[in-house]
Symmetry: C2
Subunit: 149 residues, 2 copies
DNA sequence: ACAAACCCTGTAGCTACTATAGAGTCAAGC
DNA sequence: GCTTGACTCTATAGTAGCTACAGGGTTTGT
């Protein structure tokens, strides 16, 4: 099938229709041809490119990082040093986030250990722990805050 | 000081001014008294409550989770079983996210191992890896996608 | 008297989508 | 020929937890 509409592209790549339009709007996917009725028409190159993007996303890369990789994909003769560098940085992000979360996990488990039974909140070690630690100041969330999931 | 303006509260808690107003808007901090010039006036109870919130945030709890904890803080006679449960759930979230990120880290390091030198992109093992794996389909990001940091 | 530093509200921006509203298009069945 | 349903289009708003303006008013210090 040298040519497919957006729904077909979505189902062959396992990507939502709106997400595809979003990538186009963000300049990750080139604007495809259109039918007379203004429907988008994709070919195999689009399929490949979208799969590349989705694979990078499954590795938790940002759209900005992916944009860089796509530029290299489009200029195959260039030197790949920046690609290696980008991946190293990304591995670094992930490793750092893991370390943060592990520190967090330790704190949470410690806190959890402070109450093992159901009792009035006033006597609950967890609530006491949250309040006490809070009282003796300066918890540092960076300027960027934290994210979830 | 039994009464402070928002800037003072911000600097004693290490929280930004806008963040305080945001918490008020989200119903985590009660609306404080106002001066004649409509400036917010906070007392020690506000300081404590904001510190509690920030401590919970430093443990990466969502504002919804914190809202639940605050409700308990406001009703000290109630049973703390829900608090324990909430913390267990939260520890579970964190542990799961760590596992996800570790799997990711393994994949990224494997990919990184595919290219150790600077050469044309066409020959770069990383770009080949991203393309090849992408080609053989079905990377699954869930319906919820991923987050960063 | 005037400037710097503070405060106010309201709004837009960030990431990477997801979900709606309201409209047009197309193929199949009756 | 007409309807029904599945598809497509654009544009807009929502998600989490802030951050950063814009465009004003107030307080404080010299």
């Amino acid at each position: 099938m040298p040519s497919m509409k957006i729904g077909a592209l979505a189902s062959t790549t396992g990507c939502q229709v709106q997400t595809i339009r979003y990538y186009e709007q963000q300049g990750l996917l080139a604007e495809p041809a259109r039918t007379g009725a203004n429907y988008r028409l994709y070919d195999d190159a689009h399929v490949e490119r979208l799969r590349f993007i989705r694979h990078c996303r499954s590795l938790d890369m940002s759209l900005d990082e992916i944009r860089v990789l796509l530029r290299f994909r489009d200029a195959p003769a260039e030197n790949c040093a920046r690609v290696n560098e980008l991946l190293d940085e990304h591995v670094g992000h992930v490793a750092r986030r893991i370390a943060e979360l592990q520190a967090l996990e330790r704190q949470l488990k410690e806190l959890r250990g402070l109450c093992s039974i159901a009792r009035p909140v006033t006597d609950c070690g967890i609530m006491r722990g949250l309040t006490a630690k809070a009282r003796r100041g300066a918890t540092n969330l960076g300027t960027h805050g934290r994210s979830r999931h």
